[in-house]
């Protein structure tokens, strides 16, 4: 099982860059790393996904070292509206392959609080 470990909570201020790291020491060869964001009273929303090195989209960047045992979600210049819970998921999301529901398992996430 590719379990993940994230900080329970983080604080930052508007305009800062925020980096949230997720540890996944048992990541398997076929596993992808996916991050979701959840606001109160809403379902999670996909942010970014990667396999190795760096991935960037209009919302965030994802840094993955060569050993893939961790990953860092980077949010540039956060605003108050980035206050949310951020989840790191690791797996191939292919239940037929015997990987089960690893890639569909959300942990407790990281509660990010942005202050003015």
């Amino acid at each position: 099982l590719a379990k993940t470990t994230q900080p329970i909570s983080m604080d930052s201020y508007e305009g800062q860059e925020v980096n949230i790291t997720c540890s996944h020491n048992n990541i398997a060869t076929n596993d992808y790393i996916t991050w979701y964001q959840q606001f109160p009273s809403q379902g999670p929303r996909f942010i970014i996904q990667g396999y190795k090195t760096k991935v960037t989209n209009e919302v965030a960047s994802l840094f993955i070292p060569a050993d893939r045992k961790s990953s860092t979600l980077s949010l540039p210049r956060v605003s108050l509206s980035d206050t949310a819970v951020y989840y790191c998921l690791v797996g191939d999301q292919i239940p037929y392959s015997g990987g089960g529901a690893d890639g569909l398992t959300f942990g407790k996430g990281t509660h990010l609080i942005i202050q003015p």
Binding site: T34, Y36, Q42, G43, I94, P95, A101, L104, T105, K108
Partner: protein
Amino acid sequence: DTAVSQTPKYLVTQMGNDKSIKCEQNLGHDTMYWYKQDSKKFLKIMFSYNNKELIINETVPNRFSPKSPDKAHLNLHINSLELGDSAVYFCASSLHPGTGVLFGNTGELFFGEGSRLTVL
């Protein structure tokens, strides 16, 4: 247009009752899911259907019975409700049941807004 819609949004009921939550997606996706988020905010997958076929059943009491009449709908029926069933239930869908390695896509999950069930 809401991509993944769930009804009802709120449900308050007594222990022992039977209730259903409905979910519909208009994204043309093949795969749908039910998740449970408890008071500690832990989000746990319960079931997944791919083209009306059950592919994931994650150690859920058999009081919970999902039904997928077609690939755009996945309903959740709960019998003999217990206090511990109080939670927010999220429906989700994805294009395929897999992610990039085999399917050439992110396997992104699209979630509904949740149905808050309170059992008294």
